[in-house]
Amino acid sequence: MALASVIGVGTTHYGALQSTFAELVIEAAKQALDDAGLGPDDIDAFYLGNYAGDSFIDQNHLAAYAASVIGLKGVPSSRLEGACASGSLALRQGILAIQSGMYKRVLVVGAEKMTSQPTARVTEILAQASNREWEANIGMTFPSVFGLIAQRHMYRYGTTREQIASVAVKNHAHALLNPHAHLHKNITIEDVCGCTSMVADPLNRYDCSLISDGASAMVLCAPDLAKEYQTNVVDIIGSGQASGPFELFMNEELTSFSASRQASQEAYEMANVQPMDINFAEVHDCFTMAEIIATEDLGFFKPGEGGIAALEGRTSLRGDIPINPSGGLKAKGHPIGSTGVGQGVEVVYQLRGQAGQRQVKESSIGLTQNLGGSGGTCTVHIYKRR
């Protein structure tokens, strides 16, 4: 049964853009409203996903600000923050709003303007999503979180550098086919493994997602109304959210996130589907290693077999379960608060058959997984073509 229906989607390009935060929000929101054939006065509630506008652009009270620049009038507006999962928290709030019966048509926007700050400052702002006292102040950075995870995964399961590298190669290849992507650059396994620009051993520059600007938007409505606005309806049939240990080191095993397992379990049960029913997925590959454990936590592959599957090509566009056909956070880009909404927008494009050259084969069910911090927050959503 549908929880809510997607009747409009929109997204800006992701990248180092000239546009201001306000311009990004307007572009994505306007596209989604046009796609749904709605105007600003048709929207009953607005949810914004944003991680750190206060630090990135020195602006707070951002939901009311975004609503104002869009031109929404009197619409209740709220901002959701859950580190890199901020966007999908806003989306989930939209779904809950529809489910409550209080609102019929809801606008969800995820947006982040990151390149307004120098890279060193961005690193500090991102580190705010970890425990300042017990992690960041000891010298932990987010790349090092996934460096620690990678070393443990390699030790425990024999995962290889080539397997991890194959995720970057695949996602770069997918992004080449995505006009919205930040990076359009073909790379090889040799490029990744031979890269001397180390970030956090064993991960190097090629294993890391990018610092991007961008915004994505969705218009949701009550499932019984969807046909009035959109001929190409995609329903959201499962939504899961869970919290895990806040600090990385509090995870019993570093090779799996409990929040990811719990959120996916909830979403699968709600949608009444199994991992094997999912045709393709957009998952949280902030680092190459993150995609490997995501595909294991989501049940696509057994623990320890995610790297093998990636190297075998099973997760590429023509594989049996394409992962990140958009190019993922790795190559499409990762404007923090936008990512969770952008993943959903990509799934909708794919299910509608509007994904152009990166179109996956005939599909009816797609999934998104969005992770915040070192697994402190995770959401999973399941979409189905009507």
Binding site: W134, G139, M140, L148, Q151, R152, M198, A200, D201, E247
Partner: protein, 110 residues
């Protein structure tokens, strides 16, 4: 000789935690923690070498970080002494030898 580390000890389930919470993560008891100290000795659970850091640690790069399981049943994050950048291994025995700018620094036990 290793330094000691302050932990929170649950008097009900006897488990030790680095960070306190209002309810015990394991047995769910309320206000069951008392302060305790454990020996800063244990084994590396995982490690990495950081080449790109926050600005304030730039002068230290590259430095190594390790998740360490202390013998006292607590897991901590610490830095490894600069002499051991690359030969680090999971399960290597280490001990806490100093705090540098409040950062716990561990050293391989020879």
């Amino acid at each position: 000789m290793s330094l000691k580390i302050k932990v929170h000890h649950c008097v009900i389930c006897e488990k030790n935690y680095l960070l306190a919470s209002a309810y015990c993560p394991q047995c769910r008891s309320e206000n069951s923690f008392i302060p305790m100290e454990v020996e800063g000795k244990g084994k590396i659970f995982s490690y990495t070498v950081v080449y790109v850091s926050e600005k304030k640690w730039e002068a230290d790069t590259p430095y190594s970080l390790a998740v360490i399981d202390l013998d006292g049943g607590v897991r901590v994050l610490g830095r490894m002494n600069g002499d051991n950048l690359h030969p680090l291994q999971i399960d290597m025995e280490v001990e806490l030898t100093e705090y540098k700018d409040q950062v716990p620094v561990f050293k391989r036990v020879d």
